[in-house]
């Protein structure tokens, strides 16, 4: 059952909540949804989890309405999407911007929800019927192929799907078998199995129902770890696998049909009677394919509709188009996605962004004298600015002063993959802090790569900054801890911890890093990433975050707090890495390294980046 259904404006005013099911929600799932999903340009996603709840939503962009349904995560409610869309439809009819109360919607909603539930129930039932059908179809493949070759591909797909699902069965069964090794049991079960099978088959010759029962019985009992019907499913699965494989070949070569037929017969010798059933299925699949045929022209119409003349497009641009549809947006979004990708934005992220923009524009009215492409671009620009605007304060100086008041050093840990410039930029940050009368100490915790400590020592000497080092082959976590203690003793304000570069897949090194962070609880975990990186940025950051949270021993996990983007001077207009990194981690870009000297450290200029990205 639904926990709650809300309708509110994008401005944030709740227009209607269902009072009938108005359970008090634990925490504030709606606010969390808005803050961490919808405002993070993730509204293209399907659902959002908050505690024990799952939230689904849909927008009415023309009216600026948001519909959110909340339900328990453990419940698999199939009708929620359907319900949301019909609620959206009927509510938008009665919506009036001046009206604030919609008490009479209660009745409508009750009806709609009953309808939706009934529909979902029906769907479930038909699905249950269809599924076993697929299972049987495989044996009847040959005759179907003969009658309707055009359907071949589709059936193949189905065959594959069901063979996969059977594969799952097999795994379950095997596990169950492994658990129950008693031989007696097995013998008994086989006996029961065969007799049962025979019975079911004799019934099943005429109707599919019998076999479906056998299947469902099999799967049910299989899950309850009772042996008998398992064999039945197993047998089925054997034919499936055998039949599914040749089917793929059939797609290429239809001459083998007879051979396949024979093959199927050999393996499934017990089931010859079933070829009768196939004919029935042919009908059923025909009706399906007819449905498909009905669908196809519809999809064909859309491109035709798009191919309107030049004049009508001009006319549209003047009058403003009624409502933007998905098909209208597609070309513009595709172009935009490509442009983003040429700017080195990871493909995955460009895709997600476009989905989000699409969700925010669909159904919106196009203003007069604007083109779709410019509207899309405007929406994307807004989205990019939203993403790149830091969520938390990036004023490190303020944090340093706060830590100083508490009489403890402010600890910054630099992490990242090899060769991105951790030590160099650590020195730049140290220089910047030193310029503002903050006493800095470096901690050489790269005890792995030879020469790393010497490199840092050189920087320290040039900047006249104390350095804490313990040589090589020490545990970096311990070195860092000692460094922090030392800093507390001598009254340093900031400790900059240099760590060894590591690839995101290197388990032992990531474990060491996680230990270092958990042990020392730094104020800031700074991920150093190079601006040259493309698709790998996503992998790097997500894996670092993943490993940090997986390998952490304590309850509250520390993730990456900020990003330092290096080698920014080498990339010209390919600034996409900044976007990829911020989007995937949600952490702001705190510094940008843009040169060789100590002074070459900047803050990210969001507007310039967005401009470059959309240029």
């Amino acid at each position: 059952m639904l926990e709650q259904l809300l309708i509110f404006t994008r401005g944030g005013l709740i227009l209607w909540t269902c009072k009938e099911i108005g359970n008090a929600l634990k925490g504030s799932p709606i606010d969390t949804l808005i803050r961490s999903c919808l405002l993070e340009e993730r509204s293209g996603e399907v659902s959002f989890n908050y505690g024990a709840y799952t939230l689904k939503w849909t927008f009415h962009n023309e009216l600026g309405l948001v519909f959110v349904a909340v339900y328990q995560k453990i419940l698999q409610l199939l009708y929620v999407d359907d319900l949301l869309s019909i609620v959206k439809q009927s509510f938008s009819e009665m919506y009036d911007p001046k009206r604030m109360r919609y008490d009479d919607f209660e009745e409508t909603f009750r009806q709609l929800s009953v309808e939706a539930e009934a529909r979902a129930e029906e769907m479930k039932r038909t699905k249950q019927v269809v599924k076993p059908l697929n299972g049987v179809k495989k044996q009847g493949q040959v005759s179907k192929e003969e009658t309707k070759k055009s359907n071949g591909e589709k059936k193949d797909d189905e065959g594959k799907v069901s063979s996969v699902s059977n594969g799952n069965h097999k795994m379950e069964d095997d596990v169950a078998n492994g658990k129950e090794n008693s031989a007696d049991n097995n013998i008994n079960s086989v006996g029961v199995d065969v007799s049962k099978l025979a019975k079911l088959r004799s019934k099943g010759v005429r109707g599919r129902g019998g076999l479906r029962k056998a299947d469902s019985l099999g799967s049910n009992k299989g899950s309850s770890k009772v042996e008998p019907p398992k064999k039945a499913t197993k047998k089925n699965r054997v034919w499936d696998d055998a039949a599914a494989a040749p089917k793929q070949e059939e797609k290429l070569d239809f001459t083998d049909e007879n051979g396949d037929n024979g093959h199927v017969d050999v393996v499934a010798a017990a089931d010859q009677g079933e070829s009768m059933m196939d004919k029935e299925e042919v009908f059923s699949s025909d009706s399906e394919s007819e449905d498909d045929d009905d669908d196809e022209p519809r999809s064909d119409e859309k491109p035709e509709a798009k191919k309107k003349g030049w004049f009508s497009s001009v006319f549209q641009s003047i009058t403003g188009k009624a409502n933007l549809e998905r098909t209208d947006l597609e070309p513009a979004l595709k172009a935009l996605k490509e442009r983003l990708m040429t700017k080195n934005v990871a493909e995955e992220i460009a895709e997600k962004l476009c989905e989000s923009v699409e969700a925010s524009l669909e159904g919106k009215k196009l203003a007069s004298f604007t083109r779709i492409s410019s509207t899309v671009q405007g929406a994307m620009e807004d989205a990019l600015i939203r993403i790149l605007t830091p969520r938390r304060s990036i004023d490190i100086m303020r944090d340093v002063h706060a830590a100083k008041e508490q009489r403890r050093p402010y600890v910054v840990v630099f992490v990242g993959v090899n060769g991105v410039g951790k030590s160099t930029n650590l020195a730049k940050v140290a220089y910047w802090l030193q310029q503002h009368k903050v006493s800095v100490m470096m901690a050489a915790c790269d005890t792995f790569r030879s020469g790393a400590v010497e490199q840092l020592r050189t920087h320290a000497r040039r900047l006249q900054i104390p350095i804490f080092e313990k040589g090589y082959e020490k545990d970096p976590a311990v070195v860092a801890k000692e460094a922090i203690q030392e800093a507390t003793r001598n009254g340093s304000d900031v400790v900059l911890v240099d760590t060894a570069g590591r690839m995101q897949d290197n388990e032992p090194l990531m474990r060491a890093l996680s230990k270092l962070i958990n042990l020392n609880k730094p104020d800031l975990v700074l991920f150093v990433g190079e601006a040259l990186v493309g698709n790998d940025a996503v992998d790097q950051l997500s894996k670092f975050n993943q490993k940090l949270s997986d390998l952490s021993t304590s309850g509250n996990t520390r993730l990456i707090d900020g990003i330092l983007l290096t080698k920014f001077d080498t990339i010209d207009d390919k600034v996409g890495a900044a976007l990829s990194m911020v989007y995937i981690s949600g952490a702001p870009v705190m510094f940008v390294g843009c040169g060789q000297s100590y002074t070459d450290l900047k803050k990210l200029n969001v507007k310039a980046i967005v401009k470059t990205l959309l240029k």
Partner: protein, 260 residues
């Protein structure tokens, strides 16, 4: 049908006459006339816009997410918070006569109130509205003040050092919301805490000079502890309760700068 035919004939005649008349006029005179017409319309439009801008009646509601801006907006507009609010994703805008003034006789000048979302991702939206603002109401959550103190102060600092605010001396009202709750902090306490925070920010922000985005202006007097009275624009403090509809002080503030 005949009527239609007649009309057609008439129209043709008229058009012919018109064309003849036009052909009589010298070409350059015609162009000059069109030019003058265009010029005047453009001038008219521009002047209308300018007049409008000088007499701005825009009041901005700003503040952190969850401080109660949207509720305040609807309290001022409708005198009711309806069925509650959630985090705003877009600004709420409206030009209206304040709810409590509906009963007043005579013509009252409507206020253009904008509720700017407080979520940090939507901050840039504020800058779009600042150029037209006549007054700013900065809403602070008096109940959950301490955990949000730093973030709120930073936001307020950004507003106070904004070029538009400094140049036009836009008055700011520090509105302590949710005072209906027992544990809410007093406005004096909040003012002092925020002054302290801004003092610290002044020190740290002036340090961020290497950054390519820096605030254009500094606030307060060099060498003195910061106080809101040092700002070149007027900063006042008030209490309100959006939930109970106690917004008298906010209304007074709005009416002080937008004369009815």
């Amino acid at each position: 049908m005949e009527n239609l035919e007649d009309l057609k004939m008439m129209a043709e005649q008229w058009s012919n006459q018109g064309i003849e008349y036009l052909q009589k006029i010298p070409q350059d005179q015609l162009y000059a006339a069109v030019g003058v017409l265009l010029f005047t319309t453009v001038l008219l439009l521009l002047s209308i816009r300018l007049v409008r801008r000088t007499k701005s009646n825009t009041v901005l509601l700003s503040g952190l997410s969850g401080s109660g801006k949207t509720v305040l907006f609807y309290q001022l507009r409708d005198g009711s918070s309806h069925q509650g609010t959630v985090t705003s994703m877009e600004p709420n805008e409206g030009t209206f006569v304040l709810h409590s003034e509906n009963t007043k006789k005579g013509k009252v000048k409507p206020v253009h109130l904008v509720d700017v979302p407080g979520h940090s991702r939507l901050r840039p939206k504020l800058e779009e509205f600042l150029p037209q603002a006549a007054a700013i109401v900065f809403v602070v959550d008096a109940l959950e003040f301490l955990p949000n103190c730093r973030a709120a102060s930073e936001y307020l600092y950004d507003i106070l050092t904004n070029a538009n605010v400094v140049k036009k001396k836009i008055p700011v009202l520090l509105c302590c919301n949710k005072t209906d709750k027992l544990t809410a902090h007093t406005k004096e306490f909040i003012r002092k805490q925020m002054e302290k925070e801004i003092e610290k920010l002044r020190a740290s922000r002036s340090a961020v000079s290497t950054a390519d985005i820096a605030n254009d202006y500094t606030i307060g007097i060099e060498g003195e502890v910061f106080s809101f009275s040092h700002c070149c624009n007027k900063v006042t403090v008030a209490e309100a309760s959006g939930l109970n509809g106690e917004t008298v002080q906010v209304q007074d503030f709005i009416r002080e700068y937008i004369k009815p």
